[in-house]
Amino acid sequence: MGDKKLEHVSDLLSPYLDDQVTIAERQAVEGHVRECPQCRLQLDELRNLTAALGSLPARPAPRSFVIGPRAIKPAALSGTPGGLLRAVSSIAASLLFVALSVNLAVRGLPRQAAAISVFRSSEIRPQAAAASGPPLAAARAASSGAPAAAAQPAAASARAVGVGPGTNTPAPAAPAAEPAPPAIGAGTGASPPAASTGAAFSPSIDWPVLATELGLLAIALVAAAYSVRWWRR
């Protein structure tokens, strides 16, 4: 078998079996095989091999591969996976916007000062808070220098609107002892300015909550996008 010299017809045997040779080649193969036991054996083995290959039993398909309408509908709707993802991201953007608005509205309702300070970041002076919201209990309490009174409604309102327990609002039991981080830096004196700073800060401490909510929403959307992609298959 390893003896494939040019005078042998090894290279022609395979096409000869398939009738893919010229008349001259056919005659050469048949003439040679008559004289050469080695090529004759090879031809017999090839013939047996192709017969065996042709008789290999087919394995049944493990399931039907028929394409269901649900597998192609999303493709028809969005065109491409990119289109689907684009659609999902615009939905995500809308949802984020709604979530943000709801968050601000709900938190702004009990205390306008909170909404204002959210918009203006944390740089509200005690005087500004006092000036902006005289009729509001929280703002008045903050400017009047009653830390316990100021912190307690804040915590209560935070819980009332359903914000998770993760809010950094000082615990009602010890509001003055644990204000926002800057107040800790300022000392434990619990002087009126420090306390009012804590009160003004409490809405701005909601940012981590917001970020957490937005993050969770983003994760949910990504999960949704992937499950939709999986569902399309």
Binding site: M1, S10, D11, L13, S14, P15, D18, Q20, Q42, D44, E45, L46, R47, N48, L49, T50, A51, A52, L53, G54, S55, L56, P57, A58, R59, P60, A61, P62, R63, S64, F65, V66, I67, P69, A71, I72, A75, R233
Partner: protein, 178 residues
């Protein structure tokens, strides 16, 4: 049926799927050596075929479908670096063989040996043997399915068969065909 499928009829296309799914699955299975990978490749083949069926220009639909299947198999091999060393599950049942007058009934042992030997061929030779010798495509269909010339089919098949013969145990070479 092919015309209706090309016009976008899912029902007509699914009739073609039912007609060809076993052949496509078997080519994928023996190309990849894994039932799971073959299942994936088969499903992807029909999705890809459905997406591009409008571009089918006529001729052998089977060859056109198997060309997509071959590309799916090559993608799987590239993507997963899958080495076809894990051979078919022992319990994978055989379909009833088509009642062909000249069909040879092979023992399970011979079938296993043949399938293992096929998997040892280089992928291009493997595909060639599977298309021509196992699936029964003619050279013209095979050249379309493999996107090579007729001459390449001829030489590739010749090398594949010679290699396969070497891979088989000597005692099987003559009696394997009966």
């Amino acid at each position: 049926m092919t015309a209706a499928a090309c016009a976008g009829s899912l029902a007509a296309f699914n009739q073609l799927v039912e007609l060809h799914q076993q052949g496509v699955f078997n080519v994928c299975l023996r190309m990849l050596g894994s039932t799971t990978a073959a299942e994936d490749a088969t499903q992807e083949t029909f999705f890809a075929a459905y997406r591009s069926v409008k571009g089918f220009k006529g001729g052998s639909f089977r060859a056109w479908m198997l060309r997509i299947a071959a590309n799916q198999c090559y993608d799987q091999m590239r993507g997963r670096q899958r080495h076809p060393t894990d051979w078919l599950d022992e319990d994978a049942p055989f379909a009833d063989p088509d009642p062909q007058p000249d069909a040879v009934v092979l023992s399970a042992e011979v079938v296993k040996t043949l399938e293992a030997a096929i998997l040892k061929l280089p992928p291009e030779q493997r595909l060639c043997v599977l298309l021509v010798d196992v699936q029964g495509l003619d050279y013209d269909e095979a050249s379309r399915a493999m996107e090579v010339s007729l001459g390449t089919v001829k030489s590739r098949l010749s090398r594949a068969r010679a290699r396969l013969r070497e891979l088989l145990p000597e005692d099987l070479r003559l009696k394997s065909g009966g």
